[in-house]
Symmetry: C2
Subunit: 491 residues, 2 copies
Amino acid sequence: MSASHDPQRREALIRGLGEILPPDAVLYEHEDLRPYECDGLSAYRRLPLAVALPSTRAQVAAILRLCHRLAVPVVARGAGTGLSGGALPLTDGLLLSLARLNRILAIDPTARIARVEPGVRNLAVSEAARPYGLYYAPDPSSQIACTIGGNVAENAGGVHCLKYGLTVHNVLRLTVLTVEGEELVFGSEALDAPGYDLLALTIGSEGLLGVVVEASLRLLPLPERQQVVLAAFDEVGRAAAAVGAIIAAGIVPAGLEMMDNLAIRAAEDYVHAGYPVEAAAILLVELDGTNAEVSEQVMQVRELLLACGATEVRTARDEAERELMWKGRKAAFPAVGRISPDYYCMDGTIPRGRLPEVLAGIAALSREYGLPVANVFHAGDGNLHPLILYDANRPGELERTEELGRKILELCVAAGGTVTGEHGVGVEKLDAMCVQFTAPELARFHAVKHAFDPAGLLNPGKAVPSLARCAEFGAMHVHRGQLRHAELPRF
Amino acid sequence: MSASHDPQRREALIRGLGEILPPDAVLYEHEDLRPYECDGLSAYRRLPLAVALPSTRAQVAAILRLCHRLAVPVVARGAGTGLSGGALPLTDGLLLSLARLNRILAIDPTARIARVEPGVRNLAVSEAARPYGLYYAPDPSSQIACTIGGNVAENAGGVHCLKYGLTVHNVLRLTVLTVEGEELVFGSEALDAPGYDLLALTIGSEGLLGVVVEASLRLLPLPERQQVVLAAFDEVGRAAAAVGAIIAAGIVPAGLEMMDNLAIRAAEDYVHAGYPVEAAAILLVELDGTNAEVSEQVMQVRELLLACGATEVRTARDEAERELMWKGRKAAFPAVGRISPDYYCMDGTIPRGRLPEVLAGIAALSREYGLPVANVFHAGDGNLHPLILYDANRPGELERTEELGRKILELCVAAGGTVTGEHGVGVEKLDAMCVQFTAPELARFHAVKHAFDPAGLLNPGKAVPSLARCAEFGAMHVHRGQLRHAELPRF
């Protein structure tokens, strides 16, 4: 019998939490639980048994020990901005909010390290570092709200991860509590740590291995100068080819984003960024560094873009225009939300060189399913965010949308890519994981989980599908090895 | 009874290998085994039961299945240049040489990826990539000989890892065989892979989790220009402070190396690099990038060095002088070997900002033990390589040297650092791991090992000490948490 149907266990949990936390830090009434019923993937909603809001590491450890003793599953949550349902509660589980562990413990400008608690917001780190001329590079678009703990759980990226890497490249050390409430330190503020790389293993593990209570983050010096170049193309394929040409020239832009016509029009209507609305695609190329470096690279990039057939190349004249150019990109998702009753945001990655053919494949699938797809994405990383426009009120359209989404992800895997770039697997992409991995690979994932959480109490049912589920899904045969080389769709 | 004393098992192994491999690929006679008795840490020597020299992935899988069936331990080996005994054979085990899996499978200049077998030499990757204007960044000083498989096992670094990262930052995908001979793929040639980061977990795991049979490596464009600045200081502390000043200014040199007076003199006597032999320390600062960027940074770095009290700052006039400046640094280890009967090379890391005090601490320990210590190291990374000069023929001096080495590593841990930067743990630093980690952390390492190799057949006895060994060593109490804050030695 699960705890949700076991009033005694629920009562024991609430009583135990009451001994650890002050009354305002334990929620269990229906109306108090409602704000926690979903994360950014609001299609999935569930109420947990209770919500705990600890303020200290010792309280978190005590809560974990309590849940371990009572065999109550635990879902940790930061700001709940995740897009794959990783923080979706369990009806028989505790929702452990880390939002009150929100202290910036230290900013060390010499070592260029910030030590923070998991509930600190991403942007708050850069704000605290700014007086020292430093910042924290990973910048997911939810950075005003999302927390470092959530960023670690999902290995968050952002516009700048092409040059500055994902969360895994910018976290030096983590203090993690095991499900037994035991404190472990992974990584080091020095160059490298001996032993297995449990730091990297924890980052992106979606709350299945432990609960982060402290993180040491690498800070970078604020660049002397930032400049953005906008290029318009009358064919998507040419824009995609230009991405490859820039990278092949040895330039690593701070950001390299692409928007297709549907996304351009939606954004322009919404924020009036001055985008060329007739263009089939635009690229936004951000360059940063020293004055000399940026000047030189802007010239190089302009030449490359023109050589690749850009119909217009525009460099921001001043900081205001640069911000306006980015404003359109940043507003693209809500802008698409204005032109369609609903949209479904995908998150696949592909090797950069395959961009032209995969974009053509997505267009063909869009026509086949009769559903418009807007593309707004991190082109330099090969991290696609196709937005499928649909209307949930039309019978069967959600199902067709989900099927189209799955086809798009299979296309990514077939091109040597992956089913998620930066949004995580959560509950959303469990089936897609069956496409991505072989049974022996999934078995190894489960063995690693078992090494950290033998009872399976941390965020169960997320991130890694069971072998039974994959067998049922029937997708184990579309393994990389076969699909990629033999069954790659032609278009 | 171990296999070394079990003639039947030895016979079954050799017979089984004979069915998988041609006769010249199975060695078992005493004189044939001798070349494999040690790696670069020649103080430890052992003969394996047999040596297998497969040429294909299928042979490696068959060998692993055979060993798994016979319960024979397996030690994988690349070029045997490792410095911590990671490839030391087991007397009851098979030595699995991957030297004949040495094919470069593909160089993809658009994706900037090299796909190679594990026996490919590090330098051979850059040589194959050069026609495309690309190179592979990690450059351990053994790069002429050491192999990619060994680099992965040890998470190798090198002079350039300050700017370009360790092996873990430059490997995109690995194909790994489990001890059961099962093939798994970790990572992706695209941006990110979902699931736990088993790619990073494998890198640096010292052959304990699986056997790498293929690696996809990130290639970088050859920089347009490289320049080196040499600065002399009359105090080691000032040179150390200058390291911090350069980094604090937001400059990331391609290399930032320090040598102290003993190392300078030894190198100068040996290769006549033109070093200032009266200097207490020199820094070598390498800058690379575009012409404009390097010119600007050379000026900035010169100013910073002079402001930090450098008595002389010299920029290489031409490529010949640049190479000469580096020649001295690269020859420093053998140069020290010329002035002392024996030397013991340490490999600890510390946070960069602690350099002045830790170098002072090493000098104090050197005086206390009456043993000279030369320092030649990756200052920018805080990766120390103190060389303890001793004479193994003097009774007790090796023991005193080892004790001094241990004290130096404890000093590194006390300063928030680690017991190994890039040489690995192997058999050499098992006791030091007891200083570095708590019992619960080591327990987690063992659980991860169990997830991959439940029978403990892959490189047993290396990298992670047993809890029993640490209890015996008695060092579990000097845990980071206590030592760092409460018992940090004063000097």
